[in-house]
């Protein structure tokens, strides 16, 4: 028996963007429910290492105008100046709020919040907590969600949005533990479900669960999306595992070398330029390495402890004395659900915030340190605006649960033996090599062809209790939809 739930504001996703939205919606008087496929502190926000950009002190020569300029320049002209302005101007307030709720920021000798340099700027602008910036922000947000008694549904996977007459009415979730479907009706719905870099399987810094599920569902409902082909490739993923080595390593003076020990690019250019330079080295048969040996053991242990640990674990090299083998990997999706200045999508009452949205602040290339800023600055707004929207609207209980149930049952009824996990890996390869750093029509078309010619697939695991094979299959289906959209969108951009 399925249960239905009613709340004012339904927040889908419990990473940084979701928790901030929930806290601010509650502050604005909304009854909030946060639903997520995992637990709050397990989201991608935990992986943000480098920092969060904000101009805090004039004395360092930086200014909000320069932050806006740097962001616009990095975006390759695809960001919206007024949205960027809104984000950069609210950055000091965002940091002050994080500081006030207990985030443990690294400090400088004067007792100020310490700031360091990331790519794409001349200034020390990123506030940080060693290389655990996202982790510490996320954990503190979770503590505050408990304090504010925010309601959660953990381990509930989004399978459908309820949208009728261009109005958002709620969503349907698969309770992963029980296998039951749950319908949640809400007066406003906020998507905070993260990006889709995970579909570049084996070539991404992202968790493999980052498959842009809500964006795929939006595509099915023709909710306006934009710039889905804008995927940021981080210059320094570990070569074998694609695990991220933070930009702060280059910010601190890390160099990029090929096997001949030659430097070939200014390491602190924006990420797209550095990634392209590395890709060209690899295309010409060279190996590429990150060199932080000259920074010294003490500095590395104090400022880049995670980097050292990960390089040892995955590559078997100690960065204190050895070069780190790297390659550029899918890291962040700039595109997503198009939103206006209130973070509302083309559907009334449907908001989107964070990586799943395209708020036009990153354009074609995001500046390091601006993703955490976006979730805080815009999470606050999404919270307030979704609460205001909820106040002025009423519940519309349009049940779609039977339709969704039929769809799920069909997947269970599959009797073939096709292993979709193999196809998922293949999709990752195709995306990386055919819709990666360099793109052309022929490669993009072959990606579309791959997607369109896949056999019918389903799951072999028929269990109802905690069937994460089912969840991963649904994610794979969403990945296919997005892959095709990435290819089409990229083709439209070729001259």
């Amino acid at each position: 028996m399925e249960k239905s739930i009613k709340v004012d504001t339904l927040v889908i996703g419990s990473g940084g963007a979701g928790l901030i939205t929930a806290l601010w919606a509650k502050k604005s008087g909304s009854k909030v429910l946060v639903v997520s496929e995992s637990y709050p502190t397990r989201s991608q926000t935990s992986m943000a290492q480098g920092g969060i950009n904000a101009v805090l002190y004039d004395s360092l020569g930086d200014s909000i105008e320069k932050h806006i300029e740097d962001t616009l320049r990095a975006s390759r002209g695809f960001a919206d100046e007024s949205m960027v302005k809104m984000m950069c101007e609210s950055a000091p307030k965002a940091i002050e709020w994080l500081d006030s709720i207990g985030v443990v920021f690294s400090r400088d000798k004067e007792g100020n919040i310490a700031q360091r340099k990331l790519g794409g700027t001349k200034y020390n602008r990123a506030c940080y907590s060693q290389d655990y910036t996202g982790l510490k922000i996320l954990q503190t947000l979770f503590d505050n969600s408990l304090k504010e008694e925010i309601d959660f549904l953990h381990e509930h996977y989004l399978v459908e949005l309820i949208i009728e007459d261009n109005i958002a009415m709620g969503a349907i979730f698969l309770d992963i533990r029980s296998g039951e479907l749950k319908e949640v009706f809400a007066k406003s719905v906020v998507l905070a479900t993260g990006g889709y870099g995970g579909i570049y399987h084996s070539h991404t810094t992202n968790s493999y669960s980052s498959t842009g599920d809500a964006i795929a569902i939006c595509l099915k409902h023709r909710v306006k999306t934009s710039n889905l082909d804008f995927i940021q490739f981080h210059p320094t993923g570990l070569k074998k595992s694609s695990v991220l080595i933070s930009e702060s390593a280059r910010g601190a003076g890390g160099k990029l070398l090929n096997q001949n020990g030659e430097r070939f690019v200014d390491e602190l250019l924006p990420r797209d330029e550095v990634s392209l330079a590395i890709w060209e080295q690899i295309e010409s048969g060279n190996d590429v390495f990150l060199d932080i040996r000259h920074l010294g053991e003490e500095f590395i242990d104090e400022n880049l402890p995670q980097e050292r640990k990960l390089a040892k674990l995955y590559e078997g090299v100690d960065p204190v004395s050895e070069l780190i083998p790297i390659k550029p990997v899918a890291h962040y999706s700039m595109g997503g659900v198009s939103v206006d200045e209130n973070l509302m999508s083309s559907v009334k009452g449907l908001f989107a915030v964070g990586e799943c949205s395209d708020a036009r602040v990153h354009g074609a290339n995001r500046l390091g340190g601006n993703s955490l800023l976006e979730i805080v600055a815009f999470g606050m707004i999404a919270g307030e605006k979704s609460a205001i929207f909820a106040k002025d609207s009423s519940f519309k209980e349009y049940s779609k649960v039977d339709e969704v149930r039929r769809y799920i049952e069909e997947i269970f009824e599959y009797e073939g033996s096709e292993n979709f996990y193999q196809k998922r890996d293949e999709l990752g390869e195709k995306l990386y090599y055919k819709a990666g750093i360099k793109r052309d029509k022929q490669n993009l078309l072959s990606l579309v062809e791959f997607v369109e010619n896949l056999p019918k697939m389903g799951i072999i695991d028929k269990s109802r209790t905690y069937n994460n094979t089912l969840v991963e299959f649904l994610k794979f289906e969403n990945s296919l939809l997005l892959a095709k959209e990435i290819a089409n969108s990229a083709m439209g951009r070729l001259s």
Binding site: E96, V104, F105, L135
Partner: protein, 237 residues
């Protein structure tokens, strides 16, 4: 290389628990890579949790040869036996229900009661730097022998988090937080140090608990077992 995985399915008859051996043909894999190999190549029904692959999201803690480890941070050895975390109910195979442990954070009110900004020095930050590295992976919770006998015990990570907040310069109500860790809290800990030994982030909950004890004495609290020893009331026969 061969490993054994303890598997649990509530519907399996007669015994929901079985131990299954798998051959892993990978070169020096992490445990997570091995689990993923099994799921995608041998048996789709194998169920486990994972996330970031870089030891920061806290999703993938399990026990390897009875010791808590993050699957993504552990290099597999031949003959390893993998079991789910202890002290939490198993949902399926290596997946446990973590909600219960997170309730300890609610019970201890492990947060700042009032938002405020205070100037902090490098030293102020260093005091709670390590404690605030916690990723809520539940390794310490699983390893704690006190939770074996007292399910109401607050457990290591919640107490570390309380210490982190009472030691935060922004905290204004140390006494209130200290009050909340007296029952089923700091004095129930046996200081065995299992939690400290298994923490993937190098946090030392045992030390944090000892520090909470010394802070507690400031407010007139004392070790109840010690208090019992000095009972000058009616003679007990």
């Amino acid at each position: 290389m061969k490993i054994k995985v303890q598997r649990y399915c509530t519907h399996r008859k007669p015994n929901p628990v079985v131990e299954v051996e798998y051959e892993i043909p990978l070169k020096e894999p992490t445990l997570l890579e091995a689990l993923s190999y099994i799921k995608t190549n041998i048996d789709q029904t194998l169920t486990y949790s994972s996330g970031c692959r870089s030891e920061v999201c806290g999703s993938c803690a399990v026990r390897v040869n009875d010791k808590e480890r993050l699957s993504c941070g552990y290099k597999l050895q031949d003959g390893d036996v993998i079991t789910p975390l202890s002290k939490l109910s198993v949902i399926k195979d290596l997946v446990v229900e973590a909600d219960v442990s997170f309730m300890t954070l609610v019970r201890t009110r492990a947060f700042l009661e009032k938002d405020r900004v205070v100037k902090q020095s490098v030293e102020d930050e260093k005091l709670i730097e390590r404690q605030s590295d916690c990723i809520l992976c539940n390794s310490c919770f699983s390893s704690c022998p006190v939770l074996e006998v007292n399910k109401e015990f607050l457990g290591p990570f919640a107490l570390t988090r309380v210490y982190r907040y009472v030691s935060d310069k922004r905290c204004e109500d140390e006494k209130q937080k200290i009050d909340l860790v007296q029952q089923n809290g700091i004095w129930d800990c046996t200081l065995c140090g299992e939690c400290t030994a298994v923490c993937p982030q190098g946090i030392d909950p045992k030390m944090d608990i000892m520090n909470l004890r010394s802070k507690s004495t400031k407010y007139g609290y004392m070790d109840p077992s010690f208090a019992g020893g000095l009972d000058f009331g009616a003679p007990s026969f």
